[in-house]
């Protein structure tokens, strides 16, 4: 609670204009805008919103994972590629082994990629941007090679139910995945020692190291979380679509970065918001959905995503300079 002397008008105005809240205002405004402009095609309906959530969940999960990488000062460009590889691995494994084994195998793809990214960054002392750009290329190539660009269907009903197609009444399992992973992410980042150390490393790397925090361990862990989340996103695509294809996740990278950035997470480390990432990804989903219902094409959606990313980054940088 604020001490009384701080409750002047200026402080209140500042509190409302805080960067962290930006995404909520934009979200509400976007919601209002499309509700009014698209009232004839029932944009504002439970069915449509559940649709948005179902389409957005993989992006939301990736955004939560990327928030951890960014919190520690790293970026991970390989997450989109991990989605495809993990989904294909799951689909292939499901033809041979029981569901839990296939799921663990697919998640291991994420863990392994995160470890490789993290170790390469620490050993070579090269920026995460370049390393993960490289691993993105490698993983994409592997995913294309794996099945020769063929799609792999998944006919295992229990897998499809749990990882995307199932629902309880009107509530899709994907909404439960979103809420569950968001809660886990929030607790890990805000309530656990790991999250605190990660934010410390992102906020002042030298300082964190001087206090004895193992910056290497913490950052590698963050990258493992980022790509494991991407692998889970791959499973959630595969379960919803009843199959995997090398194109899954291909176009998601820009959406995810834009969602996280507009959600109030700094692209330079030290500041992160899980709730912001969730709302940010829903905002991206809402805009996509609104644009489709308004009759715009995917090209225009891509332009919208790019503009949002630039705007979000611009606001973030201005805030940093204050």
């Amino acid at each position: 609670m604020l001490p009384p002397e701080k409750l002047n008008k200026h402080a209140i105005a500042n509190a409302f204009l805080r960067r962290e809240y930006f995404v909520y205002y934009v979200f509400i405004l976007t919601l209002l805008f499309f509700t009014v402009t698209l009232h004839d095609v029932s944009f504002f309906s439970v069915t449509n919103f559940m649709n948005v959530i179902r389409q957005t969940t993989p992006v939301t999960i990736m955004a939560i994972g990327l928030t951890f990488a960014l919190a520690g000062g790293h970026i991970d460009l390989s997450i989109g590629a991990v989605v495809a590889l993990a989904a294909l691995v799951a689909a292939l494994l499901l033809q041979m082994v029981p569901v839990p084994v296939a799921v663990i195998g697919a998640l291991m793809v994420g863990v392994a990629v995160g470890l490789i990214n993290g170790l390469l960054i620490e050993w070579l002392k090269v920026s995460s941007l370049l390393i993960t750009l490289g691993t993105m290329g490698v993983i994409t190539g592997v995913a294309r090679q794996l099945t020769n660009l063929e799609s792999v269907p998944i006919i295992e009903p229990s897998f499809n139910f749990v990882f995307g197609s199932g629902s309880f009444g009107p509530v899709s399992v994907l909404l439960l995945w979103t809420l569950g992973i968001a809660a886990l992410g929030y607790l890990l980042l805000r309530k656990c020692r790991f999250g605190r150390h990660l934010l410390a490393v992102g906020g002042n790397e030298k300082g964190a190291r001087a206090m004895g925090i193992s910056t290497i361990k913490v950052r590698i862990m963050a990258l493992v979380l980022a790509s494991s989340a991407a692998a889970l996103a791959g499973l959630l695509y595969a379960g919803r679509l009843h199959g995997a294809r090398y194109t899954l996740g291909e176009a998601d990278l820009l959406t995810v970065i834009a969602a996280v950035a507009i959600g109030g997470t700094s692209l330079f480390g030290g500041r992160a918001s899980i709730l912001g990432a969730v709302i940010g990804s829903w905002l991206m989903g809402l805009i996509n959905n609104g644009l489709i219902l308004s009759g715009f094409s995917t090209n225009e959606q891509m332009i919208a995503r790019g503009v949002i990313l630039v705007v979000a980054v611009a606001i973030g940088v201005k805030e940093q300079q204050k």
């Binding site: 656990c192 020692r193 605190r196 906020g203 030298k206 001087a210 004895g212 030290g270």
Partner: protein, 258 residues
Amino acid sequence: MSSEELKQPALTVKNISKRFGGIQALQNVSFNINKGEVVALLGDNGAGKSTLVRCVSGIHPPDGGEILVNDQQVTVASPQDARELGIETVHQDLAVIPDFDIAANLFLNREILHKNPLLRLLGWLDNKAMREQAQISLQRLNSKVPDLTEAISRLSGGQRQAVAIARAVNSGADVVIMDEPTAALGVEQSAQVNELINLISSQGVAVLLISHNMQHVMETCDRAVVLLRGESIANVKISDVTPRDLVGFITGAQRLTA
């Protein structure tokens, strides 16, 4: 407190050497600090002060020589080692996390975990306990810090310095190294930091103080060790010398090793 009565060395450095490529940054530097004593570490820029501090605080382990804590030989291979041995360093840039609040900074990498053993396993933080402890330790240092939930970046330079010192003392350190704690501070805030140094040394903490401010050194320190080009060239009691003498040692015009 007179340090004469407590001739128990808290920190002893023997023949410490450190090389960076072709540069001999430290050569056979030896000195000790007794409990409750405030020792100034003086020297011109590049004399090796910061290197010595980094050796003792585990950032750059030395190439040769010994470090003794409470007369026990120890290895300081990392900052974590140093902290576990009771050597705390207040770095020049304070090593605080700007977005963290005071309590979070005070307990950085020394977080209090939840009492529930299951939650402890997950690294669950007990923020309430940390805030209470932070309150107590800041009060003990007579620090006037307004609000423990305030982010460090919103505090004044003196308040940040107080938090950094409190963090060092808070951990029960026997030795506190301070790298130019008043360099960025105004007159009043410098005086507050001096008071803090006197207070913690009176509690038995050994303090190694790096400073360029001779008046500050004369006021707060018991002894001075002077480095010149990586070698220790003087180790004198402050009461035996004048500021002019100290400047003479720093520039190399005078030499005296006790």
